[in-house]
């Protein structure tokens, strides 16, 4: 169905062909990893998210898109309870991981954040060596009992993040001495080191150059085989390139969530259409 647009041509986005033609069949192949029901977030008196409900599928990439300040990062941070760290922030509603409410009183945020990892917009490696950066998480969660353990985990994580070959000779140099793209991959390796099930990425490529961005996007493609990846991005093209499902946020509300191809070719909501055609940004 052609979108009703006046002078501007419809932007036809070529999404990378998924492995399955039928979206329904695709949903059946993937389990639901995380759900949100009626989530509201308040910063003091200001409300940032209004009744957000959606499902996130496992072993796939879900993208959150929307204009600045629409609440997509806020919602992302709810998924690993990073909003707990902010004073005055209140979250209501239910968010589950594998069917269990992560805001239940007996759930420990410390353990939750090992299962739901996070990569930030600006690479933030610790001022430690590359080795120690990656070993940090496993150490505090008691996964490392010997030097051999540490080495194995570090090498595996760096390999999975596609960084090992570049840094294998300088594992004990400072992590902050790497280039931007390498630092971000280091942060991804760090997130992977504790064997998370979900990886959250908050605009992971916005501080990187196009070549580094391409590498990370390729990495995401690999990682999605084993992890549930949720990425916030302000680049619609990126969302179209890497994700299987896309959710569009606007002014704190979830406007529409669907398969990526559907969102970019045949959105149901006019707001979605206006956004992807560039009417507002």
């Amino acid at each position: 169905m052609e979108a009703k647009v006046e002078a501007r041509p419809v932007v036809k986005v070529e999404a990378p062909a998924p492995a399955w033609e039928d979206a329904r069949a695709a949903a059946e192949q993937h389990e639901i990893k995380m759900t949100a029901r009626d989530v509201n977030v308040y910063y003091g008196d200001k409300q940032a998210l209004f009744d957000v409900s959606l499902d996130i599928l496992d072993r796939s990439v879900t993208a959150f898109i929307g204009p600045s300040g629409c609440g997509k990062s806020t919602f992302l941070r709810c998924l690993n309870r990073m909003n707990d760290v902010i004073e005055g922030c209140r979250v209501t509603g239910a968010i589950t991981l594998d069917g269990e409410d992560i805001y239940a009183p007996w759930v420990d945020p410390v353990q939750l954040r090992a299962r739901v990892g996070m990569v930030f917009q600006k690479p933030n490696p610790f001022p430690k060596s590359i080795f120690e950066n990656v070993a940090y998480g496993p150490r505090i969660h008691g996964m490392i009992k010997s030097k051999a353990d540490a080495e194995e985990i570090v090498v595996t994580s760096l390999t999975k993040a596609g960084l090992f070959d570049e840094v294998k000779d300088r594992l004990h140099e400072s992590g902050t001495g790497l280039s931007g793209g390498q630092q971000q991959r280091l942060c991804i390796a760090r997130a992977i080191s504790v064997n998370p099930e979900v990886i959250l990425m908050d605009e992971p490529c916005s501080a990187l150059d196009p070549i580094a961005t391409a590498r990370i996007e390729a990495l995401m493609e690999e990682l999605k085989e084993n992890y549930c990846i949720i990425i916030v991005t302000h680049s619609m093209q990126q969302a179209a390139r890497v994700s299987q499902r896309t959710a569009f946020f606007h002014l704190g509300k979830l406007v529409e969530v669907d398969d990526t191809t559907k969102i970019f070719t045949n959105p149901k909501d006019t707001r979605t259409q206006d956004y992807i055609t560039g009417r507002f940004g």
Binding site: P109, R113, H141
Partner: protein
């Protein structure tokens, strides 16, 4: 007298200001717009050229008058009067002449002294009148020359502003002058000390007994100037102080930055700063009044003899004084670690304590180290607490229950009393002062260097 002269100069400058202003207005017959600069600048220009040279003349004259007259006086004494006298005795002679001239006569001064006193009085008067005359003439010359330049085209404002700029530069140079003054005066006296006592003995000797008998003819015999016990005592007390201040200061800073509510932080931080505002003489008295007796009683109870002026008492109180240095600088260092570090750590599933100990503190370490070094520098240079609470006898010991003495205590005790400038006791104080200055300077520079070099550049 000097006050009146200065007031006269100020009055003269004000008069010149009015004269200058009038002349400027007169030169354009009242039409101010035709002047390059406003009349007030013309006035200020003249006033500056009148007041400043005269003022400088008076300052320099006063500064040099003393030494110059002293030299003339010595030269005027009958030949042989000062034969065989060392500098200290010459100084005494001059003091006597000055006292007699001022009317304080003790006993029977010799004829030579009396005559010299009369000469001194006369010369003082002559010098005083000469100075007034010179200053006055300089002011008048300045008035004449400056007011001649007044004309409608005269660029008075830039001229005045140039003068102002030079004044400001002079003021800025005072900082350098002060440092130079410190270094030079310390060096000169210290070198005179090392003329008498070998540097080897000073820096490596183990015996500090600077009791020099002040008798005629005695020079250096009878005093030991081995400063190692003094340095050791300084280090011991500084160490005790750090042992008190670092744990309390660091843990307080950690709690206030990471755990405390905003309101708690807002009330507790100023209270900790209070500790830094209390004058050190108050701490010294507190040490003597309360801490030392309490420690001694405690020692009696557990059967350990603790001296009333033990290193522990002085060091502990000094530690209390230093707490705010550590807590404030550590607070700054920890707060400077950017949010992204904290977020990164929490996102990995770390507890607050782990984030602090494994991420924040290592990241803030250069800043904290800088703070510790600055605190050590402060502890070493601290005077009143140790003067009142620590010992005077230099014992070489590592036992905190015994009394020790420090560099600053020795400087004070050596100089309170008579201040003959050639007595090795006095000079020893300057030698100690030089060591103190160099060491504290080095520590400060090192602290700054560490903070600058190792601080992670967080863009």
């Amino acid at each position: 007298m000097i006050g009146y002269i200065l007031l006269a100069i100020i009055a003269l400058s004000l008069i010149s200001y009015v004269i200058g202003r009038r002349r400027a207005l007169a030169s354009v017959e009242g039409r101010q717009e035709e002047l390059h600069s406003r009349p007030t600048y013309h006035g200020a220009f003249v006033a500056a050229w009148v007041g400043i040279p005269a003022f400088l003349l008076v300052l320099i004259w006063l500064a040099l008058q003393g030494p110059v007259i002293d030299q003339l006086l010595l030269a005027s004494l009958p030949v042989g009067t000062t034969e065989g006298m060392d500098k200290g005795q010459i100084g005494l002679l001059l003091s006597e002449i000055r006292s007699v001239a001022a009317g304080n006569v003790f006993g029977e001064p010799s004829l030579v002294v009396q005559e010299a006193a009369e000469r001194y009085q006369r010369w003082q008067m002559i010098a005083r009148y000469a100075m007034v005359a010179a200053a006055f003439s300089l002011a008048l010359i300045g008035l004449f020359l400056a007011s001649r330049r007044i004309s409608p085209e005269f660029r008075a404002r830039p001229g005045t502003e140039r003068i102002t700029t030079w004044l400001m530069i002079a003021c800025s140079l005072i900082a350098i002058l002060t440092t130079l003054g410190i270094v030079i005066s310390l060096l000169i006296e210290a070198l005179r000390f090392f003329d008498r006592v070998s540097p080897l003995e000073f820096f490596f000797g183990l015996n500090w007994e600077p009791q020099i008998p002040i008798r005629e003819g005695q020079i250096t015999a009878g005093g030991a100037f081995g400063a190692i016990p003094v340095f050791a005592g300084t280090l011991l007390i500084a160490l005790i102080a750090m042992a008190v201040a670092v744990p309390i200061g660091l843990y307080s800073a950690i709690y206030l930055t990471e755990y405390a509510h905003q309101k708690v932080r807002a009330t507790v931080k100023p209270v900790l700063e209070l500790l830094a505002g209390i004058p050190t003489v108050v701490y010294g008295f507190f040490a003597v009044l309360t801490v030392a007796p309490a420690l001694r009683n405690f020692g009696e109870i557990i059967g350990l003899p603790i001296a009333p002026n033990s290193a522990l008492a002085a060091g502990a109180v000094m530690g209390i004084m230093i707490i705010p240095f550590i807590s404030s600088l550590s607070d700054d260092a920890i707060t400077a670690v950017p949010r992204s570090m904290r977020d990164g750590s929490y996102a990995m599933g770390a507890t607050k304590g782990e984030t602090i100990t494994k991420v924040l503190l290592p990241a803030a370490l250069p800043g904290i180290m800088g703070g510790v070094l600055l605190a050590v520098s402060r502890a070493i240079g601290e005077t009143m607490i140790v003067v009142m609470a620590a010992g005077i006898i230099a014992t070489l010991t590592a036992n905190p229950f015994e009394p020790v003495t420090t560099v600053t205590v020795q400087i004070v005790t050596l100089l309170i009393g008579d201040t003959e400038f050639d007595n090795p006791k006095t000079l020893a104080a300057f030698a100690l002062g030089l060591v103190l200055f160099v060491v504290t300077l080095a520590l400060n520079v090192l602290a700054l260097h560490i903070v600058r070099k190792y601080r992670e550049k967080y863009e």
